[in-house]
Symmetry: C2
Subunit: 338 residues, 2 copies
């Protein structure tokens, strides 16, 4: 989004209008509010922070579901199918994507345009594609805040999709109540592509694309994953991870997986883990917000901005090493300040 | 590493001893110095910073090679084979791993013990496994600094291995001169698992495991990748990415890939991109060091430490939201300070 567009949002909508729009489930306003929250511009920071504060009391009431799996596992189709199933049961859903996408050209190799057609057309679904964070912003920089806004807008189930089998899963795990891993049957080395750490995070593993000739192979893969899971220590939730096969394209076992998710939620609500987990997540949210605030305070200061610009050109001319440069910046601004 | 061990290092070795040990290529001292630099303890921060400053003038002279690919692509065997080849040509090599490993149990599903046996036994190789960063530390938090120490110790080629096909590649790309993607032939959907962004970063793509019955399939895969690369815009380096097949186990085409790397280095030195890229990387190093310093200054302050502890318990008791809590922390400590 360009500066010009950002300014337009700011001029047109007040915090109160954002707030009322969100509470009345206006999807256009919700979308603009998320853009505001994701903005890196100084002038948006305060408004965004105020808006989050106003929405907070209306948040927390959704079931937050993280979904991960490698490219090609069929995550989008899975979310489309289970999403429609959840909507038919009378609930409103939001889909957020946390995707460390291409730095140079943005977007995935398959393109996002044709994904989730049914959901996109449903009045009870809100779909938000990945923010383009870049290296300084990082993956899912504002996903926690986006969840709060969606919950305030009345979405009862929030799917958070992540791609990558890496760092982003740990981040998503720290924001959700339930974590689903989607895999497919492979060519003999089913477990190779999935890092142990990701498997350990999963509350349910779904073997997708169990259709046509693939059904028997999928059943074998279920057994392989079940055996692998036995080797892991008992999770803090005391919930023993389940494995099932499914076909997102044909709809096979999708209602069963949704039942598993609900069973997990009931189970962890009863044994107290659901609340414990949410409290722990608030602590990690606290640290991440400190970080964000610290950077904002530092980099939005005009004198520091100027100093950093001057020093950058000294690095470019090889007159200072990056480490000496940092010392220069901090010597000037932080002595006797903390 | 425990606090006790860290203290022991501090008591036993002075900055000057670290410095002299590194310059005389003492691998034990180098290893301890990296542990010091990776340490999160306040008392190590200043010494580490001083050591980096001392080593900086002796750094910058290696060829820095990033290597990525999904689990199962054979990265470790590849590094073992090409590493031995480079050593036989008379050079000293260092291997650093940047791996967002399992949060709960640490380490990869296959285990690291038996990796790179030949290299481990060579006097001209230094192998450093992944640091365990955790969510706050992040991936490869101190890899830039580790490169400086290895260069000061005389390592002429530095391989930086990353696993994950995600965020960590962008980070590694910002630290290396050359980026190699290792893939294997797949079951019809060769490009599915590799994100477009990762392919765009690659200067060479190696199709590994081209041995036995797999050779013909590997040659087809070469053509598929070559076609895919045509769709990408010309890289800033003006180097057109190359694709080749290889077998790390049998040694096929490994010298050829090492030649390609050298050809790339020559090419980019001549057209100025090599230096330009290093300057750009120093700028991103500068920002990342600012970040690091900012957090260090903030979190090592005893009053802030205390305040954060007090406020955390209010979040746990649900008396404050994480966002209100952050405001409390910053209200107290940052008013009129910046």
């Amino acid at each position: 989004m360009s500066d010009k567009n950002n300014k337009k949002i700011k001029q047109n909508i007040s915090v109160d209008e954002y707030y009322k729009g969100i509470l009345s489930a206006n999807r256009v306003i919700l979308s603009k509010a998320i853009t505001l929250v994701e903005s890196n511009l100084d002038e948006h920071y305060e408004i965004a922070s105020e808006l989050i504060d106003k929405c907070l009391p209306h948040s927390g009431n959704s079931v937050r579901v993280g979904i991960t799996g490698m490219s090609g596992a069929g995550k989008s189709t899975f979310i489309e199918t289970i999403g429609m199933h959840v909507i038919q049961s009378g609930k409103k859903i939001a889909v957020l994507a946390v995707d460390p996408s291409s730095e140079r050209s943005k977007g995935s190799i398959l393109g996002d345009k044709t994904r989730m057609e049914q959901l996109s057309a449903s009045e009870n679904a809100f779909i938000r594609p990945s923010p383009s964070g870049g290296i300084l912003g990082g993956v899912g920089r504002k996903t926690r805040e986006t969840i709060i806004l969606c919950e305030a807008a009345g979405y009862e189930v929030i799917f958070i999709e992540t791609v990558g089998i890496g760092q982003s899963e740990t981040l998503v795990k720290s924001m959700v109540d339930f974590f689903l891993l989607i895999v497919i049957t492979g060519a003999g080395d089913e477990l190779q592509g999935i890092k142990r750490g990701i498997m350990e995070m999963a509350d349910v593993i779904a073997i997708n694309k169990a259709d046509g000739d693939n059904i028997e192979k999928a059943k074998t893969t279920v057994a392989i994953y079940q055996n692998a899971l036995h080797l892991f220590p008992e999770p803090e939730s005391k919930w023993l991870p389940k494995v099932n096969y499914c076909s997102a394209i044909e709809g096979t076992n999708i209602p069963e997986i949704w039942k598993m998710i609900n069973k997990y939620i009931d189970f962890t609500r009863k044994n107290g883990f659901f609340d414990l987990n949410r409290r722990q997540q608030e602590i990690s949210c606290f640290y991440s917000a400190i970080d964000d605030n610290l950077k904002h305070l530092f980099f939005s200061n005009p004198t520091i901005k100027q100093k950093i610009n001057d020093i950058k050109s000294l690095i470019e001319k090889r007159k200072l090493s990056p480490y000496q440069a940092v010392k220069e910046v901090f010597k000037k601004f932080f002595d006797n300040k903390l």
